[in-house]
Chain length 333, copies 2
């Protein structure tokens, strides 16, 4: 592989002159520039930005450490991140942790070693040391999708609490009392907040005795299993609040197996849109967070922090959510 020295020798100039040409910096005469460019083309020279980064301390690389690229919500979010990063000249490492704290730690260590300029993190658990680890290396960090109490850090997330409140209230206003919620893992703030929003709405309407909550995982399998479990009991709900889209799909599948019609026998509502490519039947009533925009916003904040490392202001940007009524709640179309 040709180096800057090879190009310099071929063009009969000093390496620094080649550097000036490829970086468009400093003064270079047009004649010189042409001569250098000719040598670059001849040799097929590709600058080694590792060496550059070693000096400049900037890699133009960020990392997105999150649960799973395969999850429809994070999938779109990831695209928002990549597009935004690319437009600003950054490449991005994608790291799937599957909510596993060990994997998260490993990835953080790896990307810190690779000197990424910044990290976008969806933390596996609320009380992880990840934030301290990253900030200890003075690496800019933005937390995505989840709360992060007691830390001085930028956060971009959706309004899980408010959204859950809205969805629950919608069901109550439609006449439901027996409303069960199937949630995510206890350690995850979105799961907690949606649970809390549900509880608050139930209490606000005097339905505390009907509160029926089930922690689980944000997966289709979990939605299916818990739904079956719920309907094996004597008291059966007339409505189910699935805490995310994957759980909702699992719930729909279980209800189908049980011969229960949606929304006639059981109403179903959920958090997060199902990808537009694929509308399940019945179409789902959801509270939607805008994943692409969340990815974009978080990346923008991260890049601005990278460019101004001195600022010690921190922002918690909470995206408002959007209630979309469709067939599954029995109120929409």
């Amino acid at each position: 592989m040709a180096t800057i020295h090879d190009v310099a020798k071929k063009a009969g100039v000093a390496p620094i002159t080649v550097s000036r040409v490829i970086n468009n910096s400093g003064y270079v005469s047009d004649a010189m520039r042409e001569r250098v460019n000719a040598s670059i083309d001849e040799l097929g020279y590709v600058p080694n930005v590792l060496a550059r980064s070693l000096k400049s301390k900037r890699t133009n690389t960020i990392a997105l450490i999150f649960t799973d690229i395969t999850n429809p919500f994070f999938n779109i979010l990831a695209r928002g991140v990549e597009d935004t990063a690319h437009n600003s000249g950054y490449n991005v490492f994608f790291c799937n942790t599957d909510e596993d704290q060990e994997k998260e730690n490993t990835y953080i260590e790896l990307v810190l070693q690779k000197q990424v300029d910044g990290i976008l993190l969806v933390p596996a658990s609320l009380n992880s040391k990840s934030v301290d680890m990253i900030q200890g290396q003075d690496t800019p960090l933005v937390i995505l999708d989840r709360r992060c109490p007691d830390k001085k850090v930028d956060i971009v997330r959706g309004d899980s609490f408010g959204g859950a409140f809205q969805l629950t209230e919608l069901l109550i206003n439609l006449g439901h009392k027996h409303i069960s919620i199937i949630g995510g893992p206890m350690e995850v703030s979105t799961a907690e907040d949606r649970m809390a929003g549900y509880r608050k709405a139930m209490r606000a309407h005097g339905l505390e005795d009907y509160i029926d909550f089930h922690y689980g995982k944000f997966t289709q399998v979990c939605g299916k299993e818990i739904t079956h479990k719920i309907f094996r009991r004597d008291f059966k709900p007339t409505a189910i609040f699935a805490a995310n889209n994957l759980i909702a799909i699992g719930t729909l599948a279980a209800l189908y197996e049980l011969g229960l019609k949606v929304p006639e026998d059981v109403a179903v509502v959920s958090f997060d849109e199902v990808p537009e490519t694929l509308n399940p039947i019945p179409s789902l009533t959801v509270v939607n967070q805008p994943p692409y925009e969340m990815g974009r916003k978080a990346t923008e904040i991260l890049i601005s922090r990278i460019k101004d490392q001195n600022s010690d202001a921190f922002e918690e940007y909470i995206f408002p959510v959007d209630l979309i009524e469709r067939a599954s709640s029995g109120s929409g179309i």
Copy 2:
């Protein structure tokens, strides 16, 4: 940020000794090792692998350059790539080209500059110079999902031709004659191969006069538009072969709008599974390629090429496809 020198000074040893400790290489006495590790912990030292890479010429990084992480097929494939890479100690850059040759070129340039150890590429077009560009830098390369005629390069893809033949023959055996195919872009080999498989099956059964093909894009929007176009004509097909899952979803949507029942009025078959999370109704008869395994296989080949740069054997690994009959063809359940 602490460097290897800081650690060395604090431990009262030479930098190389620290290097030996962190790399577990060469001889270091236990006492020394402990002393060094203590200093590492105290300083919160994180090795700078950029500097290491500059020496070793290895970054333990690969790039996946493909159309779109948001596409269900590539989404799963990407996970296969990331998992496999991670297990072998590699990080991966994800690059979305949207089938745009310009973006592809930009990304290739960028990741070559970043000295990636290898590249996985889903080329936007058949006749691109990308392969030459990458091989010109002696960077290992595996082509994914698509043919790449006349190039000496490893390829991992599915059997588009055979799969299309099977799907078409299935429809013919069910009694269909008017079978239309909605394909992808002409420059993409998978689109071409599926078209060819369709044609061959039609001819093999004496149905050349019924051949009706439409090139387009591998998107839902395109599937919808072309389906509408098809049914505005006088001669209407009794079956539609959608060349991928996104087109199929668009086709289903259009048929729904037209008040046509699937499979009673029109049978529909397609390439690639719709993600298991989301089963459309009616469930689709498809020929499936295994995206996760394709990602894994390609990454394995790439890593083996990275480890043995001298081998000049090239492999074209064609995954067999899997016909899954479901409701939409009128033959399955």
